[in-house]
């Protein structure tokens, strides 16, 4: 039982990271109808920015953190202008291909600059963790869970209770109509990319002390975040969060009880099972089939 609780804690912690990235996935998908295959690189780039600021330049952690997030906001702007925006009137296929190109470009630029050696980023807190009853709470995991909960609450409030949130939703549903109402569509899409990049970056920074900072981390995280969105039902915000948490827990338990080397395989297995047996995800389609 103690082990189960311990694993549950770890699983929710790692699942929170997937959830954050999945959230970014879903937001961009809803705003542009495009799956951003360079979503994982948002996390990777942010983690490398942290390494540059906090490790190489030895700046204070909080300053590095803020600079890294600011860098991600800028990255979101550049990404939108360079990879998505010029293609906004084309079909989904060129955009998918363009984001894949971006993913390859960014990952390998990092490889060219930093070499294949994984980098290490130390945790935020000096205290590694503490015991609550039988469960050892790692402080970094705890931080991840808390930050995710705060962000999810913020996002719910933002989309359901602010006009800007409604304008973003309107843009994602019908861009031409939104522009006819005076909603600045280009700005709305830009906000989405910036927010999504910051979200992904935050996930990367939070998870960096747990994983190594490497050019592969983006691809791994992105695939799992995608699996999370499939579990939750594609394009569904709440589904992405629950899917991410579920995947983290499945993976942690799978590693503990089945096999450690094939830990990463569980995400794919779950992905395929869902695609075959329940492609609409756990929560089904929000909007019913309409001709």
């Amino acid at each position: 039982m103690d082990l189960v609780l311990q694993l549950l804690f770890t699983g929710i912690g790692i699942g929170s990271v997937y959830a954050l990235v999945a959230l970014g996935f879903v937001l961009i998908f809803r705003a542009t109808n495009v799956v951003n295959f360079a979503q994982g690189e948002f996390s990777m780039v942010a983690a490398f920015l942290m390494v540059i600021f906090a490790v190489d330049l030895e700046w204070p952690y909080w300053l590095s953190f803020l600079l890294a997030l600011a860098g991600m906001a800028l990255y979101g702007v550049i990404f939108n202008l360079g990879v998505y925006y010029p293609l906004r009137h084309r079909t989904y296929l060129p955009v998918i291909i363009s984001t894949i190109g971006a993913s390859i470009l960014v990952a390998n630029t990092m490889l060219a600059l930093y070499g294949p050696q994984p980098q290490v980023l130390s945790p935020v807190f000096e205290t590694p963790g503490f015991n609550v009853g039988p469960v050892y709470l790692d402080s970094q995991y705890l931080l991840i869970i808390v930050v995710t909960m705060v962000l999810v609450a913020f996002q719910y409030w933002f989309f359901e209770h602010t006009l800007l949130g409604k304008k973003l939703q309107a843009t994602s549903q019908d861009k031409e109509m939104a522009s006819l109402l005076g909603i600045p569509v280009a700005t709305m899409i830009m906000i989405t990319f910036v927010y999504s990049a910051v979200l992904g970056g935050l996930a990367g920074i939070l998870v960096a002390p747990i994983l190594f900072v490497s050019i592969q981390m983006g691809g791994t995280i992105a695939l799992k975040a995608f699996a999370a969105t499939i579990i939750g039902g594609f394009g569904d915000v709440a589904g992405a969060i629950i899917g991410g948490l579920a995947l983290g827990v499945i993976e942690t338990f799978g590693a503990a009880y089945i096999s450690v080397p094939y830990k990463d395989g569980f995400a794919f297995l779950v992905l395929v099972l869902f695609l075959v047996f329940r492609p609409q995800g756990l929560f089904g389609e929000r909007v019913a089939e309409k001709a």
């Binding site: 031409e176 006819l180 005076g182």
Partner: protein, 249 residues
């Protein structure tokens, strides 16, 4: 000075020329109907005015100033609201949220003010009041049309562009929609209406223009247009069974 004036408008979609030098004008306070068959260029005219398509040549003057080349977001801020064909209600937002977003072109309003105004719209559109919190996609075609018109009015437009409000609606609903247009007319809003249902379109209008394949072929008072047997047969969907009387406006 007319409120809106299109001068020698030429619009192309790829190789096809949709408008070949169209000139029309609408005075403030008027309701004007654009009539004509499919491909006549009626929707293209509205889309040019609201900035969705860029004419190759010609000019569009709104309150005496050229708005040619301005984007749709800019044009709606100047006071032209476009309710496009097919209603285009945001499917994932509620009726009230849809209507509230109609005020996106107006600056300096608080969310509470916008909400109060949106709720005020239900006096003009009592049929959708019970569905204020229903999502757009759950509404019927007629309800969606009312949401779309209400959303257009939230912009407080000087000019309202209405594109085929009768499309795909059963006759009884069409009548409801047109009685609302008559109400809007009483409020003093200038309306440029595109309609295929010529009888309905003319019944609420001060003047009518008849387009054919991108050209203006006729213009005049509703009674003159409707009264002309040849015109009815050629452009207005005249049919032996349709009553020739035009209702008094």
């Amino acid at each position: 000075m007319p409120l809106i004036e299109c001068k020698d408008l030429v619009v192309r979609y790829g190789e096809i020329e949709a408008l070949h030098g169209l000139t029309i004008a609408v005075e403030a306070g008027e309701v004007v109907t654009l009539l004509g068959g499919n491909g006549a260029g009626k929707s293209t005219t509205l889309r040019s005015i609201s900035g969705l398509v860029k004419p190759v040549s010609g000019d569009i003057l709104f309150e005496g100033q050229s708005i040619l080349g301005a984007g749709p977001e800019d044009i709606v801020r100047r006071g032209i609201a476009h309710v496009p064909e097919g209603r285009r209600v945001f499917p994932g937002l509620s009726t009230r949220e849809n209507i509230m977003l109609g005020a996106s072109n107006r600056k300096g309003l608080t969310k509470a003010q916008i909400r109060a105004e949106a709720d005020g719209m239900f006096d003009l559109f009592p049929d959708i009041r019970p569905f204020a919190d229903a999502l757009g996609w759950t509404l019927s075609g007629g309800q969606q049309q009312m949401v779309a018109v209400a959303r257009g009015l939230m912009a407080k437009p000087k000019l309202l562009l209405l594109d085929e409000p009768s499309l795909g609606l059963a006759p009884v609903i069409v009548q409801k929609v047109f009685s609302i247009i008559a109400e809007i007319r009483k409020l003093g809003t200038t309306v440029l209406l595109v309609e295929q249902n010529a009888r309905m379109g003319l019944s609420v209008a001060d003047r009518g223009y008849v387009l054919e394949t991108g050209r203006l072929v006729l213009s005049g008072k509703p009674a003159d247009l409707w009264g002309n047997e040849d015109i009815r047969a050629a452009y207005l969907g005249g049919h032996a069974r349709v009553k020739a009387t035009l209702p008094a406006v």
